[in-house]
Amino acid sequence: MTHRDRFEAVYDAYYPAIHQYAARRTGSPDDTADVISETFLTAWRRIDDVPEGEEALLWLYGVARRVLANQQRGASRRAGLAERLRAELAADRPVRPVELEHVRAAFDELPERDREVLALACWEGLTSERIAKVVGCTAIAARTRLRRARKRLAAALERQASLTIAMGEA
């Protein structure tokens, strides 16, 4: 298998997952397109480092995570690689109705560390072992972080609920 075949296989297998990962964590279609293109550009340049099998997805999540954290989107944007994808994502589409706004608000107020593990567990559907590989910590640490994050979100939602009731009574 040449490195071209390998990259095509990785891209085709994991494009939807990386697209989703980026879309969930970016505020604009431009940013989504940038994160996708920078992540796969990195994979192309380091194709020999991409692990085999399902581990490749965790590796890609790890790259996308760093791209988001460091705002490193220059190389692919500079080369104009994702112009068409960007235009496609920017197209006028019906906006999804916002439901469960109180959950979204409570989630957004959590510390970034909490949001990260909750999102990887609930949106990407990763186990704590896999979360550990993406964020670069031990499985035990990931499990602990996840447990604490759930607790904090539950507490935030309860606070919110009592506040709502208090305001309703006033």
Partner: protein, 348 residues
């Protein structure tokens, strides 16, 4: 799964896996057309060896132009006939011609993007080159509304003998990609109005029409702004490597004023590695002058501009990218103001 997990799941902003659309396929192709491994600084050509600032380069242009090392870049076409100084004068002549363009309600860019690529997926084990092309259009209204159009045009084999041995197919699957194959028949037109907040990009800088119009008309000031735009994101290569493409974008790809286009031509003329290859024709047979910029360090492909020095219009922009000779060319079919309403791309 806990109740909390279910609540978090419910606020997932992208609950459905997207299909790989044309944009995703395009991205894959574009990424694979770049070098798989970046060149390191040690491989930079000699004219970049020291910490030579752009100002120094401009001031001593003649000296540095003599030191351009063509061996340091892939050179699929001969540059032996090129002379650097006439490159500068050609660009300065074009700068002088970049006069007031006709006005209109919409700024319109229409490009024909042609890609020559190896097609290795034949069931008969036969490999040959395919030429694929697509139309890409963009409109910008004075109030900031923007539209985008795409259409895949017909693909054709470049080696007829190998194509016949392959059984003369009229469709070519894109590898394991489940999306529609390249076809000898044109694809459907895609056309849509972009969201209100959609920005035009100058390198990494999102800009409004007003901001593009307000760019400086002084070449040195414009170069500084170009570097700022490039630096908006931390790239891997030297910022100067992106200058030729970034400045060239102002000539045809963005609604810059005639004064700014003129300044962009003048700024290009000061770049250390500009060379004129001489008279040529673009892929549509239109006569022009080919100008190249040697670039090294970033994955930026080598650029060849074909310009019409009489009108200062850019006719085509070629990039020669990969070791196996994949190449692409953007033919600029329209670039300027018009009163014609935006509409889906036709087959031509």
């Amino acid at each position: 799964m806990s109740d909390i997990d279910n609540l978090v799941k419910a606020i997932d902003l992208a609950p459905h896996a997207p299909d790989q659309g044309p944009g995703a396929r395009d991205l894959r192709e574009a990424i694979m057309a770049t070098q798989a491994r970046p060149h390191r600084a040690a491989q930079r050509p000699p004219w970049r060896a020291g910490a030579i600032g752009l100002a120094a380069v401009a001031a001593g242009a003649a000296v540095f132009l003599g030191q351009v090392a063509p061996t340091a870049v892939p050179s699929p076409t001969s540059t032996s006939g090129g002379t650097a100084l006439s490159g500068t004068s050609i660009l300065l002549a074009a700068a002088a011609k970049a006069e007031a363009a006709p006005d209109g309600a919409y700024w319109h860019l229409k490009e024909l993007y042609t890609h020559q690529r190896l097609w290795p997926y034949s069931e008969n084990g036969i490999t040959y080159r395919l030429e694929t092309s697509e139309l890409s259009e963009r409109w910008v209204a004075k109030d900031g509304r923007t539209w985008t159009g795409f259409r895949e045009l017909t693909a054709r084999p470049l080696d007829m003998e190998a194509w016949r041995r392959d059984g003369s197919p009229t469709e070519w699957a894109k590898g394991k990609d489940p999306s529609p194959p390249f076809s000898a028949a044109p694809g459907e037109a895609m056309f849509f109005q972009n969201k209100k907040k959609h920005r035009l990009y100058w390198s990494a800088m999102p800009m409004t029409l007003k901001e593009i119009e307000a760019l400086p008309a002084d070449p040195e000031a414009l170069k500084k702004r170009a570097i700022e735009a490039i630096r908006r994101d931390n790239g891997v290569g030297p910022d100067e490597d992106a200058l030729p493409r970034t400045l060239a974008n102002l000539l045809y790809a963005l609604p810059a004023s005639p004064q700014v286009r003129s300044a962009a031509y003048q700024a290009l003329a000061t770049l250390p590695a500009v060379r004129v290859e001489g008279p040529t024709t673009d892929p549509r047979g239109r006569p022009g002058i080919a100008v190249t910029f040697l670039i090294q360090g970033d994955r930026t492909p080598r650029i060849r501009l074909i310009i019409d020095p009489d009108t200062s219009k850019v006719l085509a922009v070629e990039g020669i990218v990969t070791p196996d000779g994949d190449s692409h060319v953007n033919v600029v079919l329209e670039s300027g103001w018009t009163d014609t309403e935006p509409s889906p791309p036709s087959t031509e």
